[in-house]
Symmetry: C2
Subunit: 319 residues, 2 copies
Amino acid sequence: MKGIKVFAPATVANVSCGYDVLGFAVNTPGDEVVMHLNDSGEVSLDVIEGDEGRLPRDPAKNTVSAVVINYLNHLGIKQGVSIALYKKMPFGSGLGSSSASAVAGLVGINELMGKPLTQEQLLPFAMEGERLACGNAHADNVAPALLGGLVLIRSYNPLDVVKLPVPAGLACALVYPHVEIPTKEARQILRTHVPLQDAVTQWGNVAGLVAGFCTNNLDLISRSMQDVIIEPVRAMLIPCFSEMRQLAMEQKALGFGISGSGPSVFSLCSNLDVARNVTAALTAKLSEAGIDSTAYVSEINLQGPQVKHLQPALSKQHP
Amino acid sequence: MKGIKVFAPATVANVSCGYDVLGFAVNTPGDEVVMHLNDSGEVSLDVIEGDEGRLPRDPAKNTVSAVVINYLNHLGIKQGVSIALYKKMPFGSGLGSSSASAVAGLVGINELMGKPLTQEQLLPFAMEGERLACGNAHADNVAPALLGGLVLIRSYNPLDVVKLPVPAGLACALVYPHVEIPTKEARQILRTHVPLQDAVTQWGNVAGLVAGFCTNNLDLISRSMQDVIIEPVRAMLIPCFSEMRQLAMEQKALGFGISGSGPSVFSLCSNLDVARNVTAALTAKLSEAGIDSTAYVSEINLQGPQVKHLQPALSKQHP
């Protein structure tokens, strides 16, 4: 029966000052899901590779299968599906690992069903996957993983997701130091109240960052990448944070910050060469400190998930 | 000796969710300053009209002359100047009255001196005028009054002011209910700390508002004009606030909010006709409640102050 392979990208949520409202996708890394329809009437999770045995095997508890089950239940479809998840990125890393899996699963099943839902309509299902994975249905990873590019979550209630322009050639340097910070704990250390003055500083920077993206103004993006609220608290959990910031800026990064809730850090860069220089400097610094790390360099992912049908698709999909 | 006439526009600071970081100028109302050089070696404030005798007559204490004195001192120029201030807008109204006077004065003296400073370099002097007038050197009125258009104050330290694109034809409806709220008091009733969750909601809206302006998306501007932090506190000081909001939205305003620290309210509108309908509905409502009001309708002012030389100018200025 029909089969499909879907790649969904890693994502950088928060983007410095844009805590909980901004996120963007990168071309690499990401997760791959292979899915085949069958007659079993059940959703099964038959293969998980690349997780070192740490992800749940129960289809109701693993994000990738849980979102597929929810999707089918919601549409009232009884359909057997066999899922294989190939983790091609670290998890608990702040790179949106659970989002990539959920989005790959949802895009896959939706394609196989003949696209009854739009990409935007898949978003709430992916957000429920986030709730399962980390206790909070946030959208700043799943939305860019699903839609590609740079995404603003203007509002959660009602959900209002806006794709923003991305300057051509904008690159991202990602470095994942091999230490683990669960998202739940990273959220719990945040204060529930913040000084109004800091909030004003933050939304001035958010405004500048968004204006920089929309008007293709790299200098403005650079000046605006300052987070006075979240980063000062979370940076404590990340080894060599201030040294890495200094090195990234010396290598001419536009800005530097925590990816999601960490421990990965990211730099936006005017081009791939700068991004390579940044990751080289940061991984060397971590290595000096005795910390292994993984680095990724890519341009911003503009197209979102990539789909490959493994058997002839419905004529409806490819007229 | 040389003389000049300068009109500087009224301004709407805060712009709903953009407390302390956004402001725009309107074409009407505004203040007019007429200035002549003389041999007295002193700055004199010889005429004030339209203030009902309420503004200080002492040149060191009135904003319009105080900023001129500061400007001349800063440049080390000993120059006699006679100033006439024609208040053509209400003050204590939330429409940036002190800013309009300060900007008109500064632009006037700078022109008369042969433009030694750029418009941007005049900004700190105008901010000092704000400190004199209302105790706080904020920039969200003076920057748009000086530069025209919609202005983002991304940062105060260092000062970073960014002009944002404005959708063509965007209009503003202003209604000033004749009650007075001093800016100092309007600031004092604000909380010093705010819930992080509200701050996130606010910067999501600020991001949406800026993206809407930059990408000419009126729907997004409309959805984003929501202030969950400042307006709920300050709206209590403004008569008929919630009724006026409802009426404005019924008349198809894009959004409604407090202008500066009030009591004036503003609506952004897709065109002048909508703006006229909004002001008609709002002034009628206030009238029903026994409150006099003044209404203004104009497009966003894009060019900033208007200058008219009253005597032959320096050849340097008009080659």
